[in-house]
Symmetry: C2
Subunit: 136 residues, 2 copies
DNA sequence: CCGCATCCTCTACGATACTG
DNA sequence: CAGTATCGTAGAGGATGCGG
């Protein structure tokens, strides 16, 4: 809503036209808008406390350890998640949202809640769409 | 936040453990958490009025027509977007968010705004992380 | 102008096996 | 337990050309 500004003309490089240009915000939004990123953030955020690798893994249906490790590394690199290694034997590794990550979780959880609330409506829309393609 | 409920035990099929199971909400969240979906929704939502195909295409940096068409079809099927064909010559096609889509835009725009606000912080975190890997 | 069809490339991702 | 490394495949996604 903040960036809403109707275009005065449909000309290139207009103020509105440029709002979504090659800026870092679009790149970051693209990074966030990823299946494993959102599921990982939601898992970590809704648990609230530090979680062990295996725990996270169990919480996210269908994630492979490769994808989970890769996603956690990316989130750590981006400052969303902190990784704590406890050199016991065997090793214990805990992941936790940073304050930055908690901020993202705040908005992502709204998306998750919206999805949970509207999934029935979406299913209905799909069924309707598909039936129209089938018969017609 | 609504689904927050600490686990009483780390046992499988516990109430918390199951919160993100094979339910349709996770599937829908996975569908939404997609680069082109979020960029398309944000473009349509921030413009507010019906947009022509070519206009949307110009607004989203780096999208191919294949991906845009595919994404718009998916969003139409899911009831987020309505597609209006005006049989002029040449054809004019307009896309617009449905009420359902506007609801999703409401939460997605928060994610976009968060990304716009925090992109600098994330860049710093990346630079710090990378420097630690390089030297040491 | 809109967008489907085809072809082709590349990488995201899963499966498996191996280490500290 | 928490990874890394390697390999193979399916699907994402770009380029091009045609059709209503």
């Amino acid at each position: 809503m903040a960036t809403k500004a109707k275009p005065t003309r449909g000309v290139e490089t207009g103020t509105y036209e440029a709002y979504m240009q090659d800026c870092p915000a679009v790149a970051l939004l693209s990074t966030i808008s990823n299946r494993w990123v959102s599921l990982t953030m939601c898992t970590l955020g809704s648990f609230g406390d530090p979680m062990r690798y295996s725990h996270i893994s169990r919480e996210i249906p269908g994630v492979s350890q490769k994808m989970l490790t890769q996603t956690l590394r990316m989130l750590e690199r981006d400052g969303m998640v902190s990784r704590t290694v406890t050199p016991t034997v065997p090793v214990r590794v805990d992941y936790e949202l940073t304050p930055l990550g908690q901020g993202l979780y705040g908005v992502l959880s709204q998306v998750r809640d919206w999805a949970a609330d509207k999934s029935d409506e979406v299913d209905d829309a799909r069924a309707l769409y598909d039936s129209r393609q089938t018969d017609q």
